[in-house]
């Protein structure tokens, strides 16, 4: 079955042009004009990737992200016309896996989508289960347990945790994580890492304000420790 991409965008011209461009990649594209319409659509079909515009009439893109995250870990790419820190961080906090800035070239957009899809499927890559302090990570099943209770992580968060645990106790730079987890080259946005680490902490740390597992090493990056 072909990959289904849901674009949520109120501008009909953009929607159509983007649909054409993505269909050229061999994907099938579903369109939603508003957030409400997208959520309704979501009740019946789960797409493989969601592109959500921030500036929507009615409920905005941030709200759509949060609503989708409540029920699903579907990969979400936020499409924003503003790449100021507040918009980007708010979108990532709301649950987006990645963001792109308008006007994005379709080639770049499809590269982002492909990177996300790769991440979703990389569970196939067999890796041994591991225990880090009170955390149990089972890459094959995509499951993380904290003191025996299963924690729900998005694919990106899970991938980030796996990457950190692959190098237990070693400091990984933001560039390294951007490349390994998001598939970015040199110019990836470090804020992606920061926000995802923050979100990961709220899920796996007993006290997210004083993280024990995912530690920030100032000026260098992050490391995972038991």
């Amino acid at each position: 079955m072909s990959i289904r991409i849901l674009t949520i965008e109120d501008d009909q011209r953009i929607r159509t042009a983007v649909r054409f461009a993505l269909e050229d990649e061999g994907w099938s594209v579903l369109e939603a004009e508003t957030g409400e319409q997208a959520l309704e659509y979501f009740n019946s079909t789960i797409p493989d990737v969601v592109l959500v515009d921030i500036g929507l009439p009615g409920i905005d893109g941030f709200e759509v992200c949060r609503a989708l995250r409540r029920s699903s870990d579907v990969p979400i790419i936020m499409v924003t016309a503003r790449d100021g820190t507040s918009d980007v961080v708010a979108g990532l906090e709301a649950g987006a896996d990645d963001y792109v800035t308008k006007p994005i070239a379709p080639k770049e957009l499809s590269a982002r989508i492909r990177a996300l899809l790769r991440r979703v499927r990389s569970e196939d890559k067999a890796a041994a289960p591991r225990s880090i302090g009170d955390l149990d990570i089972i890459p094959d099943e995509g499951v993380v347990r904290k003191s025996g209770d299963e924690i729900h992580l998005t694919k990106t968060e899970f991938h980030l945790l796996c990457e950190l645990s692959d190098h237990l106790g070693k400091v990984l730079s933001r560039e390294h994580l951007l490349e390994q987890v998001w598939g970015y080259d040199y110019f990836g946005d470090g804020r992606l890492v920061d926000v995802h680490v923050r979100r990961l902490r709220t899920k796996i740390e007993t006290d997210p304000a004083r993280p024990r597992h995912v530690v920030t090493v100032r000026g260098m990056g992050y490391k995972l420790q038991p």
Partner: protein, 469 residues
Amino acid sequence: MPRYRGLPWRRLPLRARVIGAFTLGAAVAALVLVIITYGLSRQSMLRQREESSERQFFANARQVQSSLRAEDPDFTQLLESLPSLSGSRSIIRTGDETWTSLSLTPNDLPSELVIAVVEARDARSLRYRLDDQPVLAFGLQLRPGGASTLDEVAYFELVPLVEVENTLESLALILLVGGALTVLVGVGIGFWASGGLLRPLTEISYAATSIAQGRFDTRLEEVRDPDLAALVNSFNEMAAAMENRITRDARFASDVSHELRSPLMTLRASIDVMEHRREELSDRTKQALDLLNDEVARFEHLVQDLLDLSRSDSGPMENDLVNIEELVKATLELTENDASLEVIGTARGALVMGDKRRLAQVLDNLLRNAQKYGGGVTRITVAPNGGKIEIAVEDSGPGVAPSERSLVFERFTRGAAARKRGAGDGAGLGLALVDEHARRHGGSARVEGKSDGEPGARFVITLPRAGRR
């Protein structure tokens, strides 16, 4: 911009001037005090000594006078019997003979005093130095009477002033030390007072620097001091007005660019869809598509520059340690530019604190600039310069005339080379952005001629170096 420069003295740092004024004041006060104290003490001590010596001199003179009544006065014994106040010594001179106290010779008496005494027939005194010791000498012509056969007798007394002089010397020393201490205290007070005086100025300067670095919400704390309150209030009002205006301008520019982004996205996607079907198009349509493609690319760049300029006016910067060499390499790779890169000396591995995407944009704009107006990049160098790192992009174009060198970094200005290319090419934002971003990173941008004298421009970005990792 006209600036008041003032007198040479005013060009000294304010603090130095305040301290200088305090020091000068203290020095003058100390000097006056020392001179007056010394003068008065000296005068009164000398007068006291003179008066007591004079009293004794006359008493002794009366004794000598009375001894003259004897027929043959034994002056030697007399001289021994005369009371001596603090080591005073006496001399008696008759017409042809001279008697002196111990350790004195007739020649010890200054002849001017002898002559004055003899001529005046009256008491005279004189201060002079005997054997390098200060001495006060008194002399009086006596009138022998009674049985005396002598007709000319003069009595002299030499009073040593060495004690007085020693005391005065000690006093002078004490006064000098005191004066020096006063000056030091003056310097100290000047230092302290100027610190207090300048603290508000220092705070204002910090606040202004902070605003210049983009934290437009910086304000000074309210103060009670009425003199300062006016300054603080007007500074804060100015900062608020400026912040308002900057955010308004920035919002306008960002709104405009934002509105331009949506149609651009449709254009870009549609062009890509057409590119995908390039083979289905006729030659003429292909050409038209290429034109469209180029123009949309230029438009995208313009909107991006505008947006970045509006953001660099307002938004905060990402701060990361950026390896300059890696950055330049990555940018060259991204823009598919194969210009030769030369990294010199300690610039290898040098780090800069900043936003790498903006720095890459700076470099990208310089590369584009060289491409468009300078006949392509000939060389890129990254070199250390003191605590800074210089990235230089050289081209082999016509160069930039010295008179235009600061102008090319202004918004919407274009150099002669750009004007020659016609109005449609570039809006004059690229270099403005280079300048803004360099400055937001605590650095600067400039253009110069090539060092080897060949025609061409050399654009240099200077960035402060961050500590090593």
